[in-house]
């Protein structure tokens, strides 16, 4: 450049000479060239400085701030979205769906992008049956937010209507969620429970098996360009959701429906505070049906009374009354305190036990052990209790599972009320054998009776059916929840348990307090229970409020099914006994269950089983 400039200067000087301008002073040209040279140098310096700044900035960005910039780029171009896992289904033992999940859309708004909240609310509100004013405030009160729920789990028709509004895309969006459906309606609602709007199980199997039913959410990592358009899904960084497992329950839907229908009829006839019924297979502990009243429809949770949430089968405690007596008799015979053919003096309906005077409903003299149970003599049982003694009586009560939870797969199960043996006194010797001074849940009671029907073996009641390989996945990709092990213990010799079932408990229905349960052609055994409720005002037993129960089973020789009905304080005037209120309902349920249970592959109890279990128990 400098050379060219010098040439220019030289040429111009020569030209000037040629053009006759030699007389022009040369000193005027020299400062101009110097100025140009100075300007050129300045430009070069600026250019150099510009480049230097750029290079420095480049080094700063690429070197010093590399991680920061990388993070920023990653944040802007790569994003992920959660793929919700589909909650598993709950099936009955025959594959009928009790609970399942369908996909649906939830609508959200982006208040930051909504220029006219009132227009948005006015157009969207009527479609979703929302108060436009309320929706307006929800949007207008959060002007800087980018996410506000408008309505969750909306129907396909409403989604289409929202799309048809052609609202600006930046102002709203749909998020995919799952909605729980209960195709059988209100049936088995207490066993199933519900899933709330956040897909969290509440009550029943939904709560107790929540982790397995819920599954594990996945995520999808995507790359987008500067305009926000997704370019590709990064498969190596994405995870597929692990959908929830399928639960196969032991519930038989038909039996459940019949049980609930019978319970509804009982509620209508006797108008009690509440009632519950349980149907169980005694040999396995499988719960075939479980119902509680008042009930609710899990598909319609807007008008559920407070009391309806409670599953009385596991969370109601009551004094069992006479239904408790067979356990004490069995325990006494097992421990050689009592003989099968012994006669008990029932003192003609009046017996003083320390400071307390006991009465029977009828005046009895000497009764056989069988008749003590058949006629439900309180005095006879008190005398047996005196023979057993406090310590052994407590041991018997604990052995049959009272005072502790059964371990069924349901939340909210109570352990009942069994006071420590140190607090027992002479009253307890009379009260406990007749089913007072302790409180049990209906499930505990039927579980203990199942031990009698099962040759003396106590099994854990459960609601999860062990898959036998015949089941197929309900929804592709889902797995089946495996139940836990059944806890078994042997309480009585099988001959004692069989005698209790085939003699006294059979006679209860034939000629005792449970006669009203008798159904021609259906051999059955049972035991009634009528217990006074505690009057909280006076602290004494009430003469007006009763808890009535009846437990029965069939067939007598090798029981396959047991039914328990518990009724809490019937209000309709009438004769309030377990045999009059609960027994007819229980026997009708049993009649249905007896025909229904033939289609199941429930293993029957045999004497050999009991002998084997007994020997195993002894060796342990």
């Amino acid at each position: 450049m400098t050379e060219v400039l010098d040439d220019e200067v030289v040429c111009r000087t020569a030209g000037d000479v040629d053009d006759g301008l030699a007389d022009a002073p040369l000193s005027n040209e020299l400062p101009s060239a110097a100025r140009r040279s100075w300007r050129f140098g300045l430009v070069c310096v600026f250019i150099f400085m510009g480049w230097a700044i750029l290079v420095t900035r480049l080094i700063q960005l690429q070197g010093a701030q590399r991680h920061l910039m990388n993070d920023r780029v990653t944040r802007q171009s790569i994003f992920s979205e959660v793929i919700p896992a589909r909650p598993g289904e709950i099936l009955d033992r025959n594959g009928q769906v009790l609970a399942m999940t369908i996909p649906c859309d939830s609508l959200f708004a982006v208040p930051e992008e909504i220029p006219d909240p009132w227009d948005f609310a006015w157009r969207v509100g009527p479609i979703l049956n929302l108060n436009a004013d309320e929706l307006y405030h929800r949007i207008a009160d959060n002007p800087g937010k980018r996410f506000v729920w408008v309505q969750r789990r909306i129907s396909d028709e409403r989604v289409s209507a929202i799309r048809d509004l052609n609202l600006p895309k930046a102002t709203w969006g749909l998020r995919r969620e799952y909605q729980r459906q209960y195709p059988q309606g209100r049936f088995a609602s207490h066993v199933l429970g519900i899933r709330n709007v956040d897909n969290v199980g509440q009550g029943g199997l939904e709560q107790s098996l929540h982790e397995m039913i819920r599954g594990v959410d996945g995520n999808r990592v995507m790359t987008r360009d500067a305009r926000g358009i997704v370019m590709e899904v990064t498969a190596e960084r994405s995870h597929s959701p692990k959908h929830g497992q399928t639960v196969i329950s032991t519930i038989d839907l038909l039996m459940q429906i019949e049980t609930e229908r019978q319970l509804d009829a009982l509620m209508e006839e006797w108008k009690p505070i509440g009632a519950c019924a349980i149907v169980m297979a005694p040999s396995t502990g499988e719960i075939l049906a479980m119902a509680s009243r008042p009930g609710f429809d899990p598909n319609d949770l807007l008008a559920v009374p407070e009391a309806a949430w409670k599953n009385l089968a596991v969370s109601a405690v009551f004094e069992p009354g006479s239904t408790f007596k067979p356990f004490i008799v069995g325990w006494a015979i097992q421990n050689n305190i009592l003989a099968f053919d012994e006669m008990i003096d029932c003192s003609f309906g009046l017996y003083r036990m320390g400071p307390r005077v006991l009465h029977d409903h009828h005046s009895y003299g000497a009764l056989s052990v069988e008749d003590v149970l058949v006629k439900s003599s309180n005095i006879g049982m008190a005398k047996i209790g005196e023979r057993i003694g406090i310590e052994s009586l407590y041991e018997a009560t604990r052995a049959f599972g009272f005072g502790r939870r059964t371990g069924i797969e349901l939340p909210g199960e109570l352990s009942g009320l069994l006071r420590p043996v140190a607090q027992w006194n002479v009253y307890s010797l009379g009260s406990i054998p007749m089913g007072q001074e302790l409180a049990v849940t209906p499930l505990q009671l039927i579980t203990a009776h199942a031990a009698l029907a099962n040759g003396g073996r106590l099994v854990r009641p459960h609601l999860l059916k062990r898959p036998d390989g015949a089941e197929q996945d309900s929804v592709p990709g889902s797995q089946i929840v495996e139940p836990g092990a059944d806890v078994q213990s042997v309480l009585l010799d099988s001959d004692i348990a069989e005698w209790l079932v085939q003699q006294p408990m059979k006679q209860v229905v034939e000629r005792g307090t449970g006669k009203s349960a008798k159904i021609p052609g259906l051999p059955m055994f049972g035991k009634t229970g009528t217990a006074q409720k505690l009057d909280l005002l006076t602290g004494t037993y009430s003469d007006k409020a009763w808890v009535l129960s009846f437990v029965c089973g069939t067939p007598v020789e090798s029981p396959e099914v047991l039914v328990l009905v518990m009724v809490d304080a019937p209000a309709t005037p009438g004769v309030h006994y377990g045999g009059t209120v609960a027994a007819p309902t229980a026997s009708r349920i049993l009649q249905f269950a007896e025909t229904r249970v033939r289609s199941f592959a429930i293993p029957r109890f045999t004497t050999e089983d009991s002998a084997t279990s007994r020997s195993n128990h002894d060796t342990r």
Partner: protein, 117 residues
């Protein structure tokens, strides 16, 4: 020398073009896999919805009501009719969709036949 230079340049261009073609193929395959996953999801949703319809239609309680109309006429009848009419509407829809062939890569959304989204 010019020939060698041109040949080298062409080789570079060819390799680049082959790379671009492979990249495109990879992208296309990825897109296909994504679409197939999406189709699976949609079909699974359809399966679940139809399963729900089936279960509602064959619910023993509903069948019991239809078989015993004289016993329970008043309260449950409207509900069953309602669900039946709803199901009837859906069944038209589903028969239409199931009658359609759905080859994997010529997929039509069951609820939105015009496009995938």
């Amino acid at each position: 020398m010019y020939f060698r230079f041109a040949a080298g340049l062409m080789l570079v261009v060819l390799v680049s073009m082959a790379g671009v073609w492979l990249e495109k193929q990879t992208l296309e395959m990825r897109r296909t896999v994504s679409v197939q996953y999406y189709q699976t999801d949609v079909l699974l949703d359809l399966l679940v919805r139809q399963r729900l319809e089936t279960q509602q239609l064959t619910a023993p309680a509903l069948l019991a009501v239809t078989q015993e109309p004289e016993k329970r006429p008043s309260k449950q009848q409207p509900k069953s009719e309602r669900s039946r009419s709803r199901v009837a509407d859906r069944s038209d829809e589903s028969s239409e969709s199931t009658g359609r062939r759905l080859p994997l890569l010529r997929f039509q959304h069951p609820f939105n036949p015009e496009g995938i989204d």
